[in-house]
Every structure is written in C-alpha cells, then in structure tokens.
C-alpha cells in the first residue's frame, strides 16, 4: 500500500492533472471533429458519385404548384421554391402563435377551474384534462379534421351570417378589408388610442397608490379604443371597405378564407397543449404557501384580488418553465399537419418541394434549422420573461 501523493508539479505532461484534463478535452474535441468531418466527407462523395445535384441553387427555380393558404403573395406560375419555403414558414408560425395564445387561455382557465371549490367545475376540468392529455395528438388532429369536414355542409348549402360570413367544408369565409386612401388616419387614431390607454393605466395606478381612489380603468379604456378610431373612420369618409365572399360556380370567390385544415389543426393543438398548461398552472398555484392566501384573506381582500395580486404573481415563477416546454412542443407538433394537408413547413418544404427537387439533405437541413431557430427564440424570450418575474433581492 503506497501512500504516494499526486505529483502536483509533475515532470511529464500527463502527470500534471491540469494538463491531463486539457489534453483529454482536446482529444475528445478532435475525435468529434474527426467523425463529423468523416461523415460529411463520406456523404458528399457518395452524393457526387451517384450524380445527385447538390447546393442551394434550386431555391431560385420556379415551383409551379398551388398552395391552399399563403400569407404572402404567391403565384403558382412564377414563384420560386424560396417563396414556398417562406410560405411554409409563415404558415407554421401562424398556427403556432395562434395555438400558443388559445392553449394558454384555455390552460389557465382549466388550471384555475381544477382547483375550484365547486365540485362540478373541478371534476369537469379533471375529466377534460385526463381525456385529452392521454390521446395521441396525431389522432386528435385526424379526429378534428374529420369532425370539421363531416359537420360542415358543401359550399352551396353554407351556413351564412348576414350574407357576409360563411361557413362550409371549404372553410370559414370572411369579408376582406380593403384599405383605401385616408385609412391611414384610422390606423393613426387607433395607435394614439392605444398610447392614451397605456398612459391612462399608469396614471390611474399611480393615483391608486397615492390616494387609494379607484378609477374605472377598464370601461374608459374600452370606450377610447372603440370610439376614437370609429369617429375618425366616419370623419374621413369611411375609407375602409370590404370585399364580401360570393358564391360563383362551385366555390366562393373573394374575401378571406380560413381553411378547414387550419381550423382542425388549431383545435387539436390548443386543446391538447392546454391540458399540460393547466397542470402546470395547478402545480404553480399549489406551490404558493397556504399562508399567503390566508394572510390575504385576513386582510379582507376579495377572492379575485387574492388570485390575481397575491397567488398568480408568485405562482408564475413556478409555472413559466414547464409552460415554455409546452410552447416548444406545440410548435414542433404543428409539423403533424402533414397528416391532414395543412400547408406548413414540413408539408410544403420537406414534403412537396423535396419530392419535386429531390435534394433531401439540403432541404431537411433547412427545415431542421428553422425548428431549431424557432425553439431557441421561444426559449430565449421566455427565459427573459422568467428573469423579469424572478424574486429580486432588495
């Protein structure tokens, strides 16, 4: 049994623990680089030997196929694969953002309902959560798609509202606003109204802090937001008109169409993700010590004030991190839309485009990069929110 001490200032390079640590790290890095380089090299050589075109020049080629929902002007005769990429990206972002908004609202309400002292409300919330959380999302998407298509009539038998909003199995048709000259005044009025409301809110809060007097901030804000733009709209001479959807031949023409695929996907994603958010909300609220609520109650605060001013601000610190994960999941789950033909990035780009062009590696890499970027951005944003919410030492 030797009792030798480690040579701290050893002579050999490998005898010094610090040097040794560096050496092995460099070695590990070198191995990683080597394998990455080896596989990339191998891949490119194989691609070349098989005569497959490589590079990103295909993005400038004309796509030449139609897309059912485009947020930017898209012409199936002249638009390029780059345009297809952007169309797909925007459609992914559209469904993700809408999904995140709806899922958050439903999730928050459900989470609170789950903790309600009303037996029926809390059990209904429980049943909802357990049902939708335990059915695979792909099945739910297919289910809602079939429900949407089966429940809605054909274009000629549409449900109509005031002859301007129509609902049928081609989608929800809305009047499309057309902005004519002078409409900028209305927009400016709206922006000014928003600014006024923000200022008013701050003023009323300060007054409340100083004097304790209440001000009907919600009603006044709503009045400003609606009245100001409306007034300007009529003064300038009604510059915003609308194109109404009209039944011509087989289908409606004109107006905005919200396609059934978007409706079904949005339904499925929001309902599914909301269950997870609800559980996060419940966990967060339960994590707030009971004493906090009891203290607030003993001060005579109303239940609503206790929830919004005492419990939720503390609960949010616990709620936000798991909710970030759910937002990311929702965004990634939106790629399942390929099962029902909603034209998002995976369907359009790594589906149709890949098949028309055949350059799998470039296209899949671009698609993966998009999801990585979106996910990182959402994470960063919510980490920032989290930092703002954290308890600050005083």
């Amino acid at each position: 049994m030797t009792d030798k001490q480690l040579p701290v200032d050893g002579k050999g390079l490998l005898n010094n623990p610090q040097h040794r640590a560096i050496f092995f790290q460099v070695l590990a890095l070198a191995l990683v680089v080597f394998f990455a380089f080896y596989f990339a090299n191998n891949m490119f050589e194989n691609i070349e030997s098989r005569g497959i075109t490589t590079g990103f020049s295909f993005l400038d080629n004309t796509a030449g196929f139609g897309i059912s929902q485009t947020l930017i002007p898209y012409d199936d005769g002249t638009s390029t694969f780059m345009d297809v990429f952007i169309v797909g990206l925007l459609n992914t972002i559209l469904v993700s953002v809408l999904g995140i908004i709806f899922a958050s609202i439903i999730g928050l309400l459900l989470g609170v309902a789950r903790l309600s002292s009303n037996f029926l409300v809390s059990k209904l919330a429980l049943v909802y959560i357990e049902t939708f959380r335990n059915i695979p999302i792909l099945l739910q998407i297919l289910f809602w798609y079939n429900v949407v298509l089966a429940a809605l009539p054909g274009p000629r038998q549409s449900f109509a509202y005031l002859d301007s909003v129509f609902l049928n199995n081609r989608g929800l048709l809305l009047p499309e606003p057309i902005f004519q000259s002078g409409s900028s005044a209305v927009v400016i009025a709206f922006v000014l109204a928003v600014a006024a409301v923000i200022y008013l809110t701050r003023w009323s809060r300060k007054r409340h802090d100083d004097t304790g007097e209440e001000f009907p901030i919600f009603k006044v804000s709503l009045a400003i937001l609606i009245l100001a733009p409306t007034l300007v709209y009529f003064i300038v001479g009604q510059p915003i008109t609308a194109i109404y959807p009209e039944l011509k031949g087989f289908n409606f023409r004109g107006g905005l169409t919200i396609i059934p695929e978007l409706l079904a996907l949005l339904f499925a994603l929001s309902i599914y993700t909301a269950t997870y958010i609800a559980e996060a909300v419940r966990a967060g609220i339960e994590a707030v010590p009971k004493g906090q609520k009891e203290a607030a109650k003993s001060l005579g605060l109303k239940d609503y004030v206790i929830l919004t001013k005492v419990v939720l601000p503390q609960a949010l610190r616990v709620i936000i991190p798991p909710v970030i994960n759910q937002f990311l999941n929702l965004t990634k789950n939106s790629s399942l839309a390929t099962a029902i033909g909603y034209p998002e990035l995976v369907t359009l780009f790594s589906g149709t485009t890949l098949n028309q062009v055949g350059q799998a590696i470039e296209i899949i890499l671009m698609t993966m990069a998009v999801y990585l970027t979106i996910s990182i951005l959402i994470s960063l944003l919510l980490n920032w929110v989290n930092a703002k919410m954290a308890i600050k030492g005083r």
């Binding site: 080597f34 380089f37 098989r50 139609g66 005769g77 890949l354 098949n355 028309q356 055949g358």
Partner: protein, 338 residues
C-alpha cells in the same frame, strides 16, 4: 505534438475509403431477395389485397425481375412508399428498383441521380368529378377545388393547364392518394386529379362508383416506368430488358400457359432466343440463360399482366389504347432480343 496528431487524424480521414457499394445485381443475388419500391396502394398497379398479398402491374414487374435474376417470383420484398418518399428510398439504396407508377421527366432523370429504364405504362392526367356537379368538360372547372397528392407531376400539370386556359383553381394537397379520395368523399374538394389509371382505381373505392365520372380531357403525358440508381449499367440493363422481355413475349405469343410447349416445339428463332434455347442473351446480361422463360412461366407476358391487373379481367377495366403493341395500334415497342 498535438498538432502532428491532429494532422495525422485528418490525413487518416482522407485515406479512409468511402463506403462503396458493389453492383446492385451482385447484391440482389447475394441477398437472394429483390427489394422493390411500390406504392402505398394504387389499385391495379401496386396494392395489397385482403390477404395482404401485393397485386398489380408494377408488382408483376417486381416479380418478373425476381424471376429473371433469382429464378423465383416470390423472392421479392415490397417497400410501400409515398410519392415523396420514393426517390430518397431509391437514392439511399433502401430499394433496388422503384416500380411505383413514376412519371419519366427530364428533371427527375437528370438531377436526382436516377435513371428511368423504360415505360411500362403510358398514362395521362385526368379529372374525376362528382356527377352531381353537372360538369362534362375540364374547361368548365374554373374556380374548382382539387384534391391532389403531394410531390407529383400532377401538381405541376394542373398549374400549367389552368394557366394556359386562363382559369383559377384551389389545391388541397395530401400525402397519399388514399387521402385524396377521402377528401373528395367528404366534399373537401370538387374534383380529384391524377393519372387516369389511378383515378380509375380510386373511383372503385367510392361508396357508389357510378356517382363520379372521369372527364374526357387528358391534360398531360405521363409515361410511367421502373427507375434505378444512376451509374450501375449492369443493373439498369437487367431492369430494362426484363421489361422488354415481357412485351416481346406477348408479341411472340408466348404466355404462361403455353411457354413449356413453346420451349419444346416452337421453330420460331425469336421464341428460341427469348426462351434461351438458342443464343446467350441471359448470360450477357449477367443472368441465367432461361431468364425470360422464368419471367413468362412464373409471371406471364405483358398482356396477361395487363388484363389481370388493370384490363378486362380486373375491376378497373381500363382500355389498353396506347398500351397496345406497336403492330396493334399502340406504342408498346420492345427492342429486339437477339
């Protein structure tokens, strides 16, 4: 010292040979099974029946290749592929040959690293509409919504056709042809557009096939044929001549029922060359000399395969029209086997 090690590593990388693959023909013989890429279900071309057995014109082609190469039509492993999976599966070597009603176009031939071995079915794009729509010509389809399959030439032809005729359309794009007909059944679209042969197959999937009609217009040329990887000429030849052999057999009147008799008694030198009793075409192709005999014996000639799967003895009943032999008013013209 580390620098030299790193340099050594990088040098090694350059020296390591890339994963090379032997010829596909040798691979198939060695594995004793043909990996054939087919569709996920196009009736008449490649679809699994109620017993889970693959049937169709393209499936028969896979069997013909297996007969020619391995002497046994049952030694085929089928890989059902959607339209957008098919080329990657072939490029990556997951399948040896793609027999999946695939249209031969210049872009695909030139940029995908693939070669089309020929045409085993001449098709064209058509429209399937509901009778209740009251439409009798594609020219009346202005403003209609179409269900289409993603990643097909169909998508591109549709755009071309509507542009050329100054009409508008909306497209709902699905992954598989099964989904397109589902969408059509549920009223998501007014019409389905695809190759006419596929539409005929999809039509019989409707609850009431007589409720839908195929419009008379054919808006494109769709030559469908087997595809192989580029740069493997021996395998390319095997695939191409397997196809010609089935058509040549029809032309010479050799069928699965009379092939043994023909082998014994036919005095026709063409038949003798085809069946391998004279000449050595089989050996030149890297196969056994009775390759074509095995094809006809085990699978049948082109006419038998056609009639059984898409023609008069099938539920689809598509007229042979362009797919008749060249001496019968069609354009099926096998290159001479000699």
């Amino acid at each position: 010292m580390k620098v030299t090690k790193l340099a050594l590593l990088l040098g090694l990388t350059a020296a390591v040979p890339t994963l090379s693959h032997a010829g596909t023909l040798e691979d198939v013989i060695k594995e004793d099974v043909l990996k054939c890429g087919v569709s996920t279900g196009i009736p008449g071309f490649s679809a699994a029946d109620s017993n889970g057995e693959w049937k169709g014109l393209d499936v028969d082609f896979c069997k013909s290749v297996a007969s020619a190469v391995l002497g046994d039509a049952s030694k085929v492993k089928y890989f059902p592929l959607t339209a957008k999976e098919r080329f990657t599966a072939l490029q990556s070597g997951e399948v040896d040959v793609l027999a999946r009603a695939t249209t031969w176009t210049a872009t695909r031939d030139a940029s995908l690293g693939l070669n089309f071995a020929g045409v085993n079915y001449y098709d064209g794009q058509g429209f399937l509409v509901s009778k209740s729509l009251g439409v009798s010509s594609a020219k009346e389809l202005d403003g209609a919504t179409f269900c289409i399959q993603a990643g097909t030439t169909t998508e591109l032809n549709l755009t071309d056709y509507f542009k050329a005729n100054g009409m508008e359309y909306k497209a709902v794009t699905y992954d598989t042809s099964g989904q397109t007909i589902d969408g059509f059944k549920k009223g998501r679209c007014d019409a389905v557009t695809s190759d006419r042969s596929q539409l005929a197959g999809l039509r019989i999937k409707l609850d009431d096939p007589t409720s839908a009609i195929l419009l008379p217009e054919t808006i494109s040329k769709e030559p469908l044929g087997p595809v192989v990887r580029q740069g493997d000429d021996a395998w390319f030849n095997v695939i191409r001549w397997t196809m010609f052999a089935t058509i040549e057999a029809e032309e010479l009147g050799v069928s699965s029922t009379n092939v043994d008799e023909m082998l014994k008694s036919s005095a026709n030198p063409g038949v003798k060359r085809l069946l391998g009793s004279s000449g050595k075409t089989g050996e030149d192709l890297g196969l056994k000399n009775d390759w074509a005999y095995q094809i006809v014996k085990q699978v049948g000639n082109y006419a038998e395969s056609y009639d059984l799967n898409v023609g008069k003895d099938s539920p689809i009943k598509i007229d042979r029209s362009l797919n008749k032999l060249w001496n019968d008013g069609g354009i099926m013209y096998p290159m001479p086997i000699r």
